[in-house]
Symmetry: D2
Subunit: 152 residues, 4 copies
DNA sequence: TTTT
DNA sequence: TTTT
């Protein structure tokens, strides 16, 4: 609805493997943490301070499956999405809030041959069998505008 | 393909009506100019300089038709798209280049009741019959991710 | 530091007046809630669902003062910033998290003469005395690149 | 001036070294081409088409010098900037237009040790002596908001 | 002229 | 919990 914009663009490194959740009806989502770094100079002390910001990324359905398959812990990725704050209840029944980035587009930025294959990770195994299709850039949309051959 | 990003985001005012072009096979595009303003201080003279930048917006198919119908000269609009430089030949057969923004998303920012209806414009007439559906925000994608009701 | 990006871009309506906080040393911040709208079709029922997302905006120093002065509840504004999740302790000493958008740039999108002046709001009074300088677009950066007159 | 937005965000590979231009008064700019890739399926033939889009990047002053020093042909980089179409006259005195991206922010995305040092390039030599300061992310602004230590 |  |  109506004349607003809700857009997040991140480039960062994943802090963990993609955790998948499957729903009845065939839908699924994947979640993973993404780290971005900021740096500023503390005015009082004059020293440079490095901080890390962690973002909760949520990817859906086919995009989730691609991330689960080809995205490894530590990889660099570009994420585009929307901010969404979920409300939930803790053990005491108190309202709690958690802000997530619902991913709408992503682009792998770590070359395939540099992606870390953590030995213990089931999810990394398939990568050894590199797919015929390069999964580096995947849109979670079905952009009809790109699917034709108009002369412009 | 391949780990790159090409994104433009503009908020500006349209400088003219949408010009439509129809192709065989049913496709169409709409074109219109969009103005953004910059302002900077001239270091030598110390005075503030206001400049206007004109952008060539290209919208496709259904999105083009919506713009033609509801977007009036002077309206404010948010445009998201990709940069595309077209090559063409002038009368002397010389290569010329023209850079356009291929629109992938847009949001009308002028309230419907404030949009200027330029009397001479055929395209404005339908607006008098306000549509049942509010066309304020329209995505040119078919974002499957928004079309379901996953619990997150 | 280090090759990452943390960017948020929002267009929405403010849900309340700007709340100012002043610090020793002369710094200050302003906070206000911003609403964006999403809309999707529920696959099961087929009906369109409209949702509102609320964002916690934090503006600093001079930018905060400008927002306090000229931004009224209900106004439309473009916000650019960074995501930042603050950690705090609740009454039980439990860790809690709150995600904010640290504003780095903004642009007023409500024409000055349409901005709602809520009678009870002290902060709106100054707006009656419209400033000589139009505060519609303000960057919270000091963009050296715009401050000169290079020939390009 | 006034309620508009002109923003470009690109991730691509540089197609050439940075060409510097120095002006009287100490200002300088650097220019280099940036390639982004798009891919779409030709509806008639059903085959995937890969296209390359070239962007003219213009960087200023200190940012230009950093790019000249540390950015090598083929490197991947994130560019944020504004669209600017310059008007110029060709040999026949005819108006010609050229669209550029005036860079306001950038982030190197190629790890330093993978950046190609083209043997013949003077500009690459200094990179052998790696700088004490990591130049990976550089803002061409002077973001006052990041330079303090407010408690948020 | 880049890259995958 | 990532990365430089």
């Amino acid at each position: 609805m109506s004349g607003t914009l809700n857009k997040v663009m991140l480039i960062g490194h994943t802090g963990d493997d993609v955790k998948m959740h499957y729903f009845e009806g065939g839908n699924c989502i994947g979640r993973f943490p993404l780290a971005t770094n900021d740096s500023y100079v503390n005015k009082s002390t004059g020293e440079r301070v490095n901080t890390t910001e962690w973002h909760n990324i949520v990817v859906r359905n086919k995009a989730a499956e691609i991330c689960e398959k080809y995205l490894n812990k530590g990889d660099k990725i570009y994420i585009e999405g929307r901010l969404k704050t979920r409300k939930w209840q803790d053990e005491q029944g108190k309202d709690r809030y958690s802000t997530e980035i619902q991913c709408t587009d992503f682009t792998f930025l770590t070359p395939k041959n540099e992606s870390q294959i953590t030995g213990s990770s089931m999810q990394s195994a398939p990568q050894a069998n590199t797919p015929a299709v390069n999964p580096q850039e995947v849109s979670t949309n079905s952009p009809e505008m790109e699917d034709d051959d108009l002369p412009f």
